[in-house]
């Protein structure tokens, strides 16, 4: 087969599979930049997936479903924010609880919704003009749903916001040293609440993408562990929105290739590939000095006023 066809095929599938990873990881990056680890991504995604499906099926419009998925994801994250920011619970335990809660609740209320496909799925869109560019056009601007394009655009916006604006400095400083930020008059609690809920909103949209666009149907447990990949990707991307795009595409491409290359390479090895490469990159990242790794210094630590 011609190499162009291969490349277009691989990038196209990498984008399709990478889209939910991109959305959810962007959210997790912001939450963690503010100093809050949220291991509840899987739970927020599945709640977003179910609510988006149920609403889109009832309303007959996929867009409404995505909006509701976003709200539900944000609401789930609010639980985590209350637990970890206000009540200062252990962030890891609270996040795990959120995942278990989300999977259980979505499974329970989802009874009876499986077995029928979504009436109206989110349609693929071809961007006029941009899709005419040779090679790049068919690779990037064809056959994806609007959520993919918006996700890529959002990554750029969030990158600018995080690194080039005062808003970004505020979020980062809260994640680096909440006490200092507090002393400077920044409301640490509010910033963390907003970052966590924003993260949940994006995770909800990621889940909605799965049930409304990627595979327009509801099945219990349909996120199948994607939320955990997201948490690894946030580290993999060094808590940076633009590198998140690279990470999501890289993982998406490997995932696709693990099926594409089965005729040539042993499937057991291919199955291992995305995960092995994730470990490899994490190990390489780990070799660098702590500061250059880019982890927010106060990540995972609850903040109490007046304590150092």
């Amino acid at each position: 087969m011609d190499w162009q066809g291969w490349l277009v095929g691989i990038v196209g599938r990498a984008l399709a599979f990478g889209t939910p990873l991109l959305w959810a990881t962007l959210g997790e990056v912001y939450a963690e930049r503010s100093g809050v680890v949220n291991l509840g991504v899987e739970g927020m995604m599945i709640l977003g997936a179910f609510s988006a499906f149920a609403v889109a099926q009832t309303a007959g419009h996929p867009g409404v479903g995505v909006l509701v998925g976003a709200v539900v994801g944000g609401a789930a994250a609010l639980l985590h924010a209350v637990m970890t920011v206000t009540l200062r619970a252990n962030q890891y335990v609270s996040g795990l609880a959120l995942t278990l809660f989300g999977l259980g609740l979505a499974g329970l209320v989802g009874r009876g919704w499986e077995g029928t496909p979504l009436r109206q799925a989110l349609p693929p869109v071809t961007i006029p003009g941009l899709s005419e560019i040779p090679l790049l056009g068919p690779m990037l601007f064809q056959g994806q749903t609007v959520l993919t394009y918006v996700g890529l655009f959002l990554a750029v916006v969030l990158w600018l916001l995080l690194w080039k604006t005062r808003w970004g400095v505020v979020v980062r400083s809260v994640g680096e040293s909440p006490a200092t930020a507090d002393a400077l008059g920044i409301n640490v609690f509010r910033v963390r609440y907003l970052a966590v809920v924003f993260g949940g909103t994006l995770a909800g949209i990621a889940g909605a993408y799965l049930s409304v666009a990627y595979r327009p149907a509801w099945t219990e447990g349909m996120t199948a562990g994607m939320g955990w990949i997201v948490i690894a990707l946030a580290i993999f991307a060094g808590w940076d929105p633009l590198r998140t795009v690279g990470g999501a595409l890289f993982f998406g491409a490997l995932y696709h290739l693990s099926f594409r290359l089965q005729g040539l390479v042993a499937p057991e090895l291919l199955k291992l590939m995305p995960y092995a490469s994730a470990i490899l990159v994490l190990a390489l990242v780990g070799l660098r000095s702590v500061r250059r790794r880019g982890a927010p210094s106060a990540l995972g630590l609850p903040y109490t006023r007046g304590e150092r």
Binding site: G107, A217, M222, G263, P267, K271
Partner: protein, 440 residues
Amino acid sequence: MASGEEVIVRETRGGAGRQCGGQGVARKGGLDMKLLKLMAVVVAALAVVGTVGLAQTKIRAAFIYVGPIGDYGWSHAHNEGRLIVEKTLGIETTYVEFVPEGEVETYIDRLVAQGYNAIFTTSFGFMDGTLAAAKRYPNVIFAHCSGFKRAPNMITYMADFYQLYYLNGLMAGALTKTGKIGYVGAFPIPEVKRHISAFTIGVREVNPTAEVHVRWIYEWFNPAAAKEATEALIKDGCDVFAFTEDSPTVVQVAAEHKLPSFGHYSPMHAFSPDYCVSGQLVHWDKIYVDFLAKIQDGVYTAKNLAHVDYWWLISQAAAELGGESGLPINPKFVAALKDKIVDTKVFGKISVYDLVFARLQQMGDPGVSFDPFQGPIVDRKGVLRVPEGLWMSYDALGGQGRRRSVAGRAVEFNTGWAAASPQAAASSRSRCPGEDRCMR
């Protein structure tokens, strides 16, 4: 009610105690004596009632699933069977879902303590745990799906699809334009390989040069993996799809590309009304109702199950051809299948459409006059595995195969291809037509 009868049994024992005490009292006077005699009669009557009641203990059935009943696949299908049992036999049932394979014994302990006396475990990986529990609770009846270990109070059972996959293969071979057919497989284990082999035998019968391309996902349930595997097959030129995975993903993805596919396990026609050609449907209720009714009638007890194995196929109606019940072939594909004419030894020139129904009838017939795995069968490397005139035996087919788990020592499917004579195979498979098979 079982609990009611237990009360009666206890009362009998309590009565006997009182009878003894009563003899002490009886020395005092005649009136008491009479009363006591009356009491003794009552007690004896109660004892008789109690024993009779014990012999016909009411069945309370419990089902243990490995996945969620909402998977719209394996566990969903078992649960549909359970609901039909409740409706037709009026038996009280319950279920536990999402049970990790290593923890099945704990769940069995709890269910036995709650008074359940017929326990179905529906995953291959539950096998050893179920056997251990069967030894611990000799009066409870156990049924393990897809395994091969039995006990006096434990049967094995399976509704297998290989005949259906063969029929699907006939249709797939007729419908492919590129000559490449895609198959998304869960795990490379005997059961799945048996199904792919049967499917390929069907494909090659009508289209000798067609290829079946397989992509493994190494999971029973993973919609994203099934989707990417299907997309990869499409990119490699496949244009008809069959699969083993517990969600309708492959059918949906094929439909997005306007390509035909075959449903698996549950009715998936609705997910692709224009492109779902046919598929495989399971009716676990046929096995469940038959087995539980035989327990009710006293045919099966906790003493005589060591050689009972249900291996039910098309002829027992445990496996049905179609994308949804009652629709063996999607009307949209009837014309294409009628147009494709093949030359067969038995039927002469025949359309694939008619061939499918002719084979279906041969396999559905209690005598079973055809099997996909009848010789000559040549493997991928060109080695003759089953000579002309012979059928593969039940054991060679991996009848004691595995489902739901890849742990442990897998009996490799094609190493055990010992062929039996057609008569022996036919008789061993249809020894008691419509009945469960008695092994060894």
